[in-house]
Symmetry: C2
Subunit: 145 residues, 2 copies
């Protein structure tokens, strides 16, 4: 989770919404790490979770990340939750809840639908205060900026 | 929609689930066209809709596809519906309903949630019989091997 936070902080430094993510393999090794890059890449799909899933799949040469876990500093949105399901992520660990845009514990609740064919084990609220204060600080600085 | 079908047929010929998509600009010009490539690219996020959104954003140099429309042969899943929302797609036209995996008219119903900050106008059921028969034919041929 510390690596995910480092990626979130690096994203903030690039002017991106500070969200960072990591995928680890079945042996616990880091397969991919990334921060949000939607502005820099001019790609609306370039959320941290999407990037680490794509990079880990490329690293493993498989579109299914069997036995892999994903760590992210914020509750994933419906897009990322969908990708997590397709990638067959084993466990999802996330930081702050996102009542405004989340798709796991809020809104679309993607993993709870009968149309969701694979749901990871979900562990939310990890270092939630740290994740939340990182986001709040970022938006405050943009407002005051 | 004919181009989306051609892309779906090309995807089937590559052994992919036959789904095709197109993004058109505000002037109606085709900005991007793609079929599903999850197996070929070994990328669980490489659905046709994701690819055309990413390609159109790259073509326009913007992560927001203001005034752009998306055509796809199958009801988008929650991942793609999320991406369509982030990309600010104006109108979504889709072919067959997908009761098993859809995220627009079924399951997560991403656009209907208060956590969805932009919803396109949605027009479903276009050439639904054609889209549905393409998918059924594909899965039948895989079963019969």
């Amino acid at each position: 989770m510390d690596i995910a936070f480092a990626e979130a902080e690096a994203a903030a430094a690039r002017g991106e919404v500070p969200v960072g993510a990591v995928v680890t393999g079945p042996d616990g090794r880091v397969l991919a790490r990334a921060g949000n890059r939607t502005l820099e890449d001019r790609d609306p799909t370039a959320h941290a979770e999407m990037l680490v899933i794509r990079h880990a799949a490329a690293a493993l040469g498989s579109e299914r990340l069997i036995g892999c876990d994903l760590y992210v500093t914020l509750e994933p949105c419906p897009m990322c939750a969908g990708a997590i399901s397709f990638a067959r992520i084993r466990r999802l660990y996330y930081g702050a809840d996102d009542p405004k845009g989340g798709g796991v514990a809020h809104g679309a609740r993607v993993f709870e639908r009968p149309t969701c064919h694979h749901a990871p084990e979900v562990y939310g609220g990890l270092d939630a205060a740290r994740a939340s204060s990182l986001l709040k600080g970022f938006f405050r600085s943009r407002r005051d900026g």
